[in-house]
């Protein structure tokens, strides 16, 4: 046995030696049983590696990917808007725990209430700190002011993402705890109602920044809730 040639057997096997080295290694192999055995076994390792069969993932990974790639903001600043605006990595991976979902439900009630307030009182002013605390909480959810672009009701990408997530949730509904399903569906109804009311109010006042912010926030919450729900069903 020669440690020198044993250490070169992979190179020999892979055709990485020079002609002179091949000749020398061949001569050594002709005399050395151990190195011939090692070479044979190395070839078996390579054969096993190349024959390693592919397997499919055990879980559906698409909902998690969809959740990350569609979490783009609806309200953007024109100066930074591009044809294909995508979120920065730090803006992804939004997830809620069930207690957070419960809190979200409370906040959505506030959102709905405040949108209703505006929808029925056209001359109403923005909420002030003197208003009930829950409305102040809802107000804190609005996105930063500035050059707010009216939310696009016909945003095909948002609608497609929601439709995809709803389909996934529907398909995996049976795998979720019924109580979780109940909470999710109740929250979705609240969000849908908030969206419906915001849209109705915006029909009459399309440029209203406050209403646009509320609509954007409600839509974002719907997407987040669906993402979380589909991720729960994938757990």
């Amino acid at each position: 046995m020669s440690t020198h040639w044993t250490d070169r057997l992979s190179d020999y096997q892979d055709g990485e030696l020079s002609a002179a080295e091949y000749a020398a290694c061949d001569a050594h192999l002709a005399e050395c049983d151990v190195c011939r055995t090692v070479l044979h076994e190395l070839r078996l390792v390579t054969v096993a590696a190349r024959g390693d069969e592919d397997r499919d993932p055990a879980v559906n990974l698409w909902p998690g990917i969809l959740s990350q790639i569609t979490s783009r903001p609806v309200v953007v600043h024109p100066a930074t808007r591009s044809a294909r605006s995508r979120p920065a990595p730090s803006e992804r991976r939004i997830s809620f725990s069930l207690p957070q979902l419960a809190l979200a439900a409370s906040l959505l009630i506030a959102v709905t209430a405040s949108v209703s307030y505006l929808a029925t009182g056209r001359n109403a002013v923005r909420p002030t700190p003197q208003e009930p605390p829950i409305l102040a909480m809802a107000e804190s959810l609005t996105l930063p002011s500035g050059d707010v672009v009216p939310a696009n009701f016909a945003d095909a990408q948002f609608d497609k993402a929601v439709a995809d997530l709803e389909q996934i949730l529907h398909d995996q509904r049976e795998t979720l705890d019924p109580r979780t399903v109940m909470v999710i569906e109740r929250n979705l109804r609240l969000i849908d109602e908030a969206i419906r009311q915001a849209r109705a109010a915006l029909d009459a006042d399309p440029a209203n920044t406050y209403l646009n912010s509320h609509l954007a926030e409600a839509r974002r919450r719907k997407l987040d809730l669906l993402r979380r729900a589909t991720s729960l069903s994938g757990d």
């Binding site: 076994e41 054969v47 390693d52 499919d56 993932p57």
Partner: protein
Amino acid sequence: MPVDDVALAAQGDTGAFERVYHAHLRRVHNLARRMAGSESADELTQDVFVRVWQKLSTFRGESSFGTWLHRLAVNVIVERFRTLGTMRDRFLADGETVLERLPESRAPARYDARMDLDTAMKRLPPGARAVFVLHDIEGYRHEEIGEILGVSIGTSKSQLHRARMTLRSHLNERRDSREHALD
């Protein structure tokens, strides 16, 4: 997969991107599983496809889309190792002694070629494992591996040999244990 799906996905069409995902999922997931282990494969696969989505606009068609995506996947996985500090620091040292005792003399072994490669590869340090997977399974050349991992061609070659020797040692143990069980 229709080529148009890549173009549509690059324009933000998530439906087209889902088709791209399904077309390449298996290869990416298996690459992640082999390089990082089953426990990390799902998360890495998701990270790869999110990165693909972000980088689609940079695909110029200079190579096939599959080749481009695969190289991106390798980079994402290697980046993860680097982030965790588990790649370059865990190559086997060049001066390290041979990993296992060589047999004194023995007839060529009759191995089961369908060995559990997952189990065997768990014995490898991440760096050596990456070289083995990229070279022996994915078909990369040492020059490419050196570039991807940031090591010399010589290091790539020596790590490949040591990885194979470690796997061979694992096979010997498995065979010996099977023979003892039959005694």
